[in-house]
Symmetry: C2
Subunit: 360 residues, 2 copies
Amino acid sequence: MSLKPLSRPLAVVDEIRCRRNIKNMVAKASKSNTVLRPHFKTHQSLEIGRWFKEYGVTGITVSTPEMARYFAEDGWDDITLAFPFYRGQIDDVKQLQESCNVRLFVSDTETVSFLETNLDKPIKILIEADAGYNRSGTSDLTEMDKIVSLANKSKNVHFHGFYSHDGDTYKVKGQNQIKEIIERNFTLYETLKEIYPDAKFCLGDTPSCCVMDDFRMVDEISPGNFIFFDWMQVNIGSCSINDVGLLIKVPIAQVKENLNQLIIHGGAVHLSKDCIKIGEVLSYGQPVYFDNGNIKAIPGSYVESLSQEHGVIRGTNEVLSHMNSDHSVWICPVHSCLTANLFGNYVKTDSTILEKKILS
Amino acid sequence: MSLKPLSRPLAVVDEIRCRRNIKNMVAKASKSNTVLRPHFKTHQSLEIGRWFKEYGVTGITVSTPEMARYFAEDGWDDITLAFPFYRGQIDDVKQLQESCNVRLFVSDTETVSFLETNLDKPIKILIEADAGYNRSGTSDLTEMDKIVSLANKSKNVHFHGFYSHDGDTYKVKGQNQIKEIIERNFTLYETLKEIYPDAKFCLGDTPSCCVMDDFRMVDEISPGNFIFFDWMQVNIGSCSINDVGLLIKVPIAQVKENLNQLIIHGGAVHLSKDCIKIGEVLSYGQPVYFDNGNIKAIPGSYVESLSQEHGVIRGTNEVLSHMNSDHSVWICPVHSCLTANLFGNYVKTDSTILEKKILS
């Protein structure tokens, strides 16, 4: 990168690492005879979307009709809307159906009836199964049965299968704890498989998809974060720091040596306020060394606080010795999905711009 | 607003309340013979900027050269960059000087020398005074003296005065605690006034500007948040809930009555992950009743968690009785600056679009 002092915070994408992350997940899915339908909310970039296509990905997952439209215009024609469908989205969904195949999440019969009445052409639905995460979806087998029966009698609503995103894997640490959470999903899925042998079974979260060796009965996976990973995923145990594909490069605004602090131009509007507790420390980002193809956490340093545009890094000496020639430091973000969402574009490691949108 | 079910989360600006907030702050400043130079990072909107102009505001505050350029192109010609100037910004600052008067923050002599060497025309500097907040700036009187001396001998760097943003007022509650923090700023400012009787004294934060009856020796104030206020400011004691000028209207995605939860389409990418502790509860937003010109907090309810697009509201019955006819609820955001930064535009209460940019 340029030796000229950095003029603003940059979201830097490492194409080599991102492609490696895609390739690994595609290979892993393929080994289990599982289809990868990656969640594109993480990167929100047409060009990064095209990288996935090169590795054979044909179906994708997004979170809003607007995001679906953005990718549909680039030729994606098989898109899952991974958020509970609600009535206000009906016009957008109908418009989407003009250009691509859409799948929706439902968790009650009222929604199925509403879709049946209001759609002009068929749509696939996934029942959002809640195995214990307690966010959206349902764990009620009777309601699921009613949904499937209603869909089977319906003209426009076709039952495709079940989807579970178990975000509790984001709250634990290490393979064993993640695997315990995966098991509760499999317990539910095995019950459902007996009742609905023809249904497709889909799983959503990055930690599960990273630590499972074999996706067993799962037909489709839709992790998103794994394209970039982040400091949270490193700490959960989904990846190593050297796998992270999105780093934030921030200008140093002030060195406060007496306080062992660096003031950076990198605040909540760049990194987001997501944080993780590591030991006694609350970290809003991890300063890293990034050179010669390697990423390493700088020991004894962390982003200790964020305000709107200011960040404060604790651990000056260690960080300063890894200061770049352009008066900047590299930060591994805590949560790359939220961080990426805050930037209007990416910069690649060769300093070229990589287009993206903010589609939230 | 429309009775059609809401199709996506909206950032709704109440022009009447915003204008009242502007008018009140202008009147308050005027009473103390103090100039209001509002921080425009909060709203990032040219049209809202023009509202300020109607009340006599001529100088503004922003956080980046990019944001300055956006407002300069709309005719603002007196702009303070309220972030420590760093070397990488020099080209942007020089370009800005072509269209407006710029003021910069400095806190060391090296920066003054750098500006003197690299600028082609004069610029005003403010020494960022740190009265105890311990973020950026300096509390070192010797360094301040060196800066002023250097500026006095300089061709391009003109010493204008001191600026203090004491963000500790965001961490306290009630007028008395805020006033204690204000006093430490006045203690420093009174010392400095004796040494530099001709300097201008500027103060930055919304809580201080709201609770002070008289700005005393302060020549300029630059609060930003007060145009919108938010749930944090209500809890700090800067305003009442009925003063809030930015509410988020979110679609209800799922009602989970057995758990007293509502799942809303309103997550970290809409509200930001800023939160406040109220008693034992961590709140990511406050559901409110908004009708007939009144805003009231819905008792017993709060946003208890956020993921990327999902929000979970606790307290279903109370909230559901205030559900709007378009299947939505109103949320008062915890931190309106971060929330506003996440939206590509605003909607006014009459459903018209209010242009803004995401300029972080």
